[in-house]
């Protein structure tokens, strides 16, 4: 009994630390899941006189992908994201975050899409990053799935990879498409 209490306390501490090891400190739980998608209305990259808004996407399952030409992992993600869009025909808005039209990057976004291909339904230009903050951006790339009612259902932080597309995103999109609008 004399040794049992300290031993149990030590065991509990070890268990707690082991649990902490498995946690990803960068995965911040997003408060948006199950909440209406934050609204934005932003100029389109190729047609700046036109606007693209969250309202335009109502009634269908869609994806919002935050990206920038200065973001290295977006480049890595691009092929995988393009495959997801090609396979599911999911309408995807690419939110160009603090990139096109900024002092530092000018029109690099256009060159980026020209050389890598443009899989997006529309590219929304968020020069000052205000829409990004509204969506709780921590670091690009980030990918959201929004259902027919305009509710955010899923967030993927960081570059999407093949396994995540096959095991999480495609099944989720198929499931959401079966739901009533």
């Amino acid at each position: 009994m004399k040794f049992f209490i300290p031993l149990a306390a030590f065991g509990a501490l070890v268990a707690l630390l082991l649990f902490g090891l498995g946690n990803d400190p960068k995965a911040i739980p997003t408060p948006f899941i199950g909440q209406p998608a934050p609204a934005f209305s932003l100029p389109r990259l190729y047609k700046p006189e036109q606007k693209i808004s969250t309202e335009d996407m109502k009634g269908q399952v869609w994806v919002l992908n935050l990206w920038a030409s200065w973001c290295v992992s977006c480049r890595a993600e691009h092929k995988v994201l393009s495959r997801l869009i090609a396979e599911t025909k999911i309408p995807t808005i690419g939110l160009n975050y603090k990139d096109y039209g900024t002092e530092d990057y000018g029109d690099e976004a256009l060159q980026w899409l020209a050389s890598l291909g443009n899989p997006f339904y529309a590219v929304a230009v968020d020069t000052n990053g205000s829409a990004g903050i509204d969506w709780g951006v921590v670091g690009v790339p980030e990918t959201f799935v929004i259902d027919k009612k305009g509710i955010v259902r899923y967030k993927f932080t960081g570059p999407v990879y093949d396994q995540a597309v096959d095991e999480i995103l495609i099944p989720l999109i198929e499931k959401l498409r079966k739901e009533e609008g």
């Binding site: 911040i28 408060p31 990053g129 969506w135 709780g136 921590v138 670091g139």
Partner: protein, 159 residues
């Protein structure tokens, strides 16, 4: 001797100052209409956490995102937002994670009451231990022990 001491003190001071300087972050200059707004802004950027570099608050961090969040805070404060408005805005987007001072609710109960409970528990254990020591029976010598001691002393005295 005194000058040497002073010299080493000055070197140490210089060293400490240079360390401080390397941690200082360039903060934008903002104009405030009132002293209260300035105080509120400074309080908020110290209390809100940078979600990009998680061990820093907004005031300390020079991450791009922290700057955006400072700007947003400033913008809201000069428009007359209260502390609750800004905190509400940030938690709606980044969750309680953004607060260095998390709200008191069921999920954070252990976080708030854990340390005091732990403190009281350890104090209780400590007092119990000390009192236990006081009440320990004093080992008195048996009559046989006393006799053997007396014999030893007597034998030594003879020598």
């Amino acid at each position: 001797m005194h000058t040497r001491l002073l010299k080493s003190f000055l070197v140490a001071l210089l060293f400490a100052l240079s360390i401080n300087a390397s941690f200082a972050v360039k903060i934008e200059f903002h104009d405030f209409k009132t002293k209260q707004q300035e105080q509120l802004y400074l309080q908020l950027v110290a209390e809100l956490r940078c979600v990009k570099c998680q061990n820093q608050n907004l005031a300390e961090s020079n991450a791009e995102l922290a700057k955006d969040m400072r700007d947003k805070t400033y913008e809201m404060v000069i428009k007359g937002a209260t502390r609750a408005d800004v905190v509400g805005y940030m938690t709606a987007r980044y969750g309680d994670f953004v607060l260095y001072k998390p709200p008191f609710k069921a999920k954070t109960l252990l976080l708030w009451v854990g340390p005091p409970i732990f403190l009281f528990l350890s104090l209780f254990m400590l007092f119990k231990l000390i009192r236990g020591q006081k009440n320990q029976p004093k080992e008195s010598l048996s009559e046989a022990d006393r006799n053997s001691v007396r014999e030893l002393l007597a034998s030594n005295a003879k020598k």
